[in-house]
């Protein structure tokens, strides 16, 4: 299964895959019954709270917790001293490479506090009020240091240094002097100089984007219970219970088998719940107190201390012939990593020009640390930033060439066999289909009024596979329990159950999908990278096919005929060799009922490393109107078109496209972190960190195109991440067409837009 592609079933008549049934966990979620991270209570439970640095950059001279420990009702107090320091080495954790030296410093500051909100100590007490009081009694002696927030400033030779021991990786020879530049990466193809020499038109611009937060509505929360003998239970809201187990076991020096992690229902993640913040602290506090400890972040803590994605500076230069063929593309990306290395600059580089078929291309990226919270993954990490810049320049190129922007993209679109800038050739991909669907869409021809404009942009994301387990347990009544290891954030229980029912030929309602804890399945990588419907789907199909084989074997035994003469269709074992040529038939439920007598329980297991994820490409159309007197931009109409490979449950595919588009609208128009002179966040809440509200947006029309992924039994591609890639450029392009001003800085908030309009009028006057 790993390496041999399964026979694609895309021609087969499908009964369930592709339909829109109600999700199996739906009723729990519309009645308030579903248990999210903060919804669990245990007897004798303590409340844990975190003391956080008020400074953006400060050396920690000492921490005195004696007064807090002495407070009546305080059961545990921890600092970095309660965790063993770990060496700087990159260790694989599933698909991730993790530097535990950094991770142990991010969960609790050691030598230095590196951003406002950096955790410094934590307490557990009998009530939240006592815990809060205890935090006030902890005395931290800080030596405040100069801080640096901006990526360009952080790269200056005389910039305040976050890590005295950080030497840039990826430049030969390795620099003798430490710097804030963690890494340099480069991808290139062909000959840039020769390519630009062939160009008739060259467009070159620099872009600036701000860090933006994933904005999940559920704050981080967990409940840890460590017993006197070191056995531990952890309930938490996470995208990956197995990854949490790996991280926490390493940070606390525990054996994996001693720690059982259960993923609660998760109230949004978008990449932000792929790392640990409270979990290791709650475990350490519980280990000290030998009582359960519950910790929940406030919204302020979420903004101050959990990972946004990078702010960045991106320079892009593209040249093309008069005929509209791109001859060369060059880009320089500088991404903020936050306080520790690990920005998504690498995927940013790889995605930058991925939608295009280019002979001469170069992308250079820098991963730079600054005094901000460590970035975490956010939906197509790195891609929206670099593709915003590239898709804006492509649009300007089309203007200069007097070409329709979709036409220009079609002339250069990547397709099967195109060599990506990062090396390999693409398999079948659906960019051309999305561009043609966009051009054919009524939206593209709809009339526009004054101060209104239409924008187009495309987007690319790889999608991933990875380590995945799934189990199907056949009950004696013929119903099936499906156990998956990937938390369900957007309806994946439905899509997995649908694939299982399709394979087994039974009604969907006979399959009950549950998310297993780390004790019930083998290691399963997290819900992320748009991998769940692909990877868990692949595992579920393999497990189902194992069940089908066992069912056929039992039928063959019962009928005393060879396995080969038993087929499986419509949920029944059938043998063509019946009396008088009449086919024998045994429905699944019959075989299940007698399973005990025919060889024991019937269970299908799959433990795979899913390979062959197919990239998903999208093209978005947007109409905007600009109020020239106030600078306010209104989104009038939006259409998202994307290649889903195959939409298992089209409603949830559309939901991913709509949700990603609106997150992109927020990124484009209003979302940004605002820091004061001292590096303190001025808008750590939903009042002034402005994610789109219901009245800000129109209906988001969707068009799903299906270019099946040959490596998946149902042709599935991941769809979750690509939709956040095109919106920023699509909107900036639309604004340019509305008022003739090209915005290269996000967000396009009313004060910025009005200033640009006034500056332009001043120049013209």
């Amino acid at each position: 299964m790993n390496d041999v592609p399964m026979q694609a079933l895309t021609e087969r008549k499908l009964k369930i895959v592709g339909t829109r049934p109600l999700r199996p966990d739906g009723v729990d979620k519309v009645t308030g019954r579903a248990k999210f991270g903060a919804d669990i209570h245990l007897p004798n439970m303590l409340i844990g709270k975190v003391l956080r640095s008020p400074h953006a950059h400060a050396r920690i001279r000492s921490i005195d917790t004696s007064k807090a420990r002495a407070l009546h009702g305080v059961k545990a107090v921890i600092t970095a001293a309660d965790f063993t320091d770990l060496p700087s080495e990159f260790i694989p954790a599933g698909e991730m490479m993790v530097n535990y030296r950094d991770m142990t410093r991010n969960i609790l500051a050691r030598e230095k506090a590196l951003y406002e909100g950096h955790a410094v100590a934590a307490v557990a007490a009998t009530t939240e009020a006592i815990a809060a009081q205890a935090l006030k009694l902890i005395e931290v002696d800080y030596e405040v240091l100069p801080h640096v927030m901006d990526v360009a400033q952080a790269m200056e030779p005389d910039a305040p240094l976050l890590h005295e021991n950080m030497y840039t990786i990826g430049v030969e020879p390795t620099p003798a002097k430490p710097s804030n530049i963690a890494k340099r990466v480069e991808f290139s193809l062909g000959d840039i100089a020769a390519g630009f020499a062939q160009a008739d038109v060259i467009v070159e611009r620099e872009f600036t984007t701000k860090p933006v937060h994933q904005g999940y509505i559920e704050p981080h929360a967990c409940l840890a219970s460590v017993s006197e003998d070191g056995q531990a239970e952890l309930w938490c809201t996470t995208q990956g219970q197995f990854v949490v187990r790996s991280f926490c076991a390493k940070l606390l020096g525990m054996e994996l088998s001693k720690l059982r992690v259960t993923a609660s229902e998760i109230g949004g993640g978008f990449g932000g719940k792929t790392v640990v913040y409270l979990e290791p602290l709650a475990l350490a506090l519980s280990r000290q107190a030998c009582q359960p400890v519950k910790m929940v972040m406030s919204r302020t803590e979420v903004f101050q201390a959990s990972g946004p994605t990078s702010g960045a500076k991106v320079w892009v230069k593209i040249g093309a012939t008069r005929a509209g063929r791109i001859t060369a593309a060059d880009a320089l990306l500088k991404y903020q990593a936050g306080a520790f290395q690990g920005s998504p600059v690498q995927p940013g580089c790889m995605c930058a020009f991925a939608p295009y078929d280019l002979d001469n291309v170069r992308v250079i990226g820098y991963d730079v640390v600054v005094n901000r919270p460590k970035v975490a993954a956010y939906r197509a990490p790195g891609a929206p930033i670099s593709e915003f810049a590239v898709e804006s320049v492509i649009d300007e190129l089309a203007q200069r060439l007097k070409l329709d922007p979709i036409e220009l993209r079609l002339k250069n679109a990547a397709k099967e066999g195109t060599r990506a800038a990062y090396g390999p050739k693409f398999g079948p991909i659906g960019l051309v289909q999305t561009l043609e669907a966009a051009r054919a869409h009524a939206h593209y021809r709809a009339p526009l009024k004054a101060n209104q404009g239409r924008g187009v942009a495309s987007g690319f994301w790889f999608n991933i596979g990875g380590e995945t387990c799934a189990t199907l347990n056949l009950g004696e009544d013929g119903t099936v329990t499906l156990v998956a290891g990937t938390p369900d954030i957007g309806g994946s229980r439905a899509s997995l159950a649908m694939m299982a029912a399709e394979e087994l030929g039974i009604p969907l309602e006979n399959v009950r999908p549950v998310i297993g804890d780390t004790g019930t399945l083998g290691y399963t990588f997290l819900t992320g990278g748009s991998r769940v419907t692909f990877s868990s789907g692949m595992a579920v199909v393999e497990a189902a096919r194992s069940v089908v084989r066992q069912l056929r074997e039992r039928a063959a035994k019962i009928w005393e005929i060879p396995l080969e003469s038993v087929i499986w269709e419509d949920g029944c074992a059938r043998a063509l060799t019946g009396e008088g040529g009449k086919p024998k038939e045994l429905p699944l439920a019959e075989i299940a009922k007698s399973a005990g007598k025919t060889g024991g329980p019937i269970v299908g297991n799959a433990a795979i490393s899913a390979q062959g994820a197919g990239p998903s490409l999208a093209t978005h159309l947007v109409d905007v109107e600009v109020d020239r007197e106030t600078g306010k931009i209104t989104i009038l109409r939006y259409t998202a078109i994307q290649d889903a490979g195959r939409a298992v449950h089209p409603s949830y595919v559309e939901g991913q496209m709509q949700g990603g588009a609106v997150q992109g609208i927020g990124w484009a128009l209003n979302e940004e972190y605002i820091y004061d002179q001292n590096g303190r966040l001025e808008n750590p809440g939903f009042l002034d960190y402005r994610i789109p509200v219901c009245s800000d947006v129109p209906m988001i029309d969707t068009v799903i195109v299906e270019a099946p992924n040959p490596r998946h039994p149902y042709g599935v591609r991941g769809v979750g991440e690509t939709p956040i890639v095109p919106p920023m450029a699509a909107i900036a392009n639309a604004v340019e067409h509305a008022i003739g001003i090209r915005f290269t800085e996000l967000p396009m908030s009313p004060p910025r837009v009005l200033k640009a309009i006034d500056d332009k009028q001043a120049v013209q006057a």
Partner: protein, 288 residues
Amino acid sequence: MDYRSPGSVQEAVTLLTAHNGAAHVLAGGTDLLVKLRGGFVAPEVVVDVKAIPQLRQIESDARGFRIGAAMSCAEIGEHAALAAAWPGVVEALNLIGSTQIQGRATPGGNLCNASPAADSVPAMIAAGAVCEVAGPDGVRDVPVENIVTGPGRTSLARGEFVVSFRLPRPRPRSGDAYLRLIPRTEMDIAVVGVGVALCLDEAGLCTHARVGLGAVAPTPLLVQEAADALIGTRVDAAALNALAAAASAACKPIDDKRGTVAYRNKVAGVLARRAAQIALERARGGHG
């Protein structure tokens, strides 16, 4: 912290006076509870004034309207006669926060929270609203524009609180309007807010006008120069431009996370003009 819910104005005054300023009035709680949670205030006692009848009713008579200071904005919005008489004031009250906030937020709280950006205050100022303030020395009348003295500061003495707002009967051929600029369509604090009330004579000349500005200075402003730009005119393009210029000139804003000085100065003028046009339509539509 203790919680008390007095049933009369006198009882409330006694409680507020007793605690030497360590008592805090609780009306809708939409600002107070956020401050409590953030640890920005730590009162000994919160005095919930919603059980006091006078604060929970709207009375109207020949002289005008008396709005209880602890009515929720949603309740006030449902008072048809008030909405018809002072649409700008009611619109401003109904712009405060979300539907959920509307169910709790009150005009008294919006004023006494003393935010320069409070939505209802510029509209109340334009409408010429007067507060009935109760305190240890009895009851006194204070024009709305004289309550807020700075961000988070009011002219109320210890033990005093706002019982109600009085709005006159609108004159014939009068109209009011409130507009604000927020980055989104909802859920934001005003970056600029402008309230305009004006009145025309039979000939269509503006005989009376008041203009209130919010979020452009440490306190909401009553801008006489802006009103003067309208009075005696037909509220034509020239007058509207003069109004915009006067409104912009009156701003003393700061750069902050919500907007820049330049932005606020310009948009104050833009919104003043737009609000005046709406008020003019309403005046011509004929009120009262």
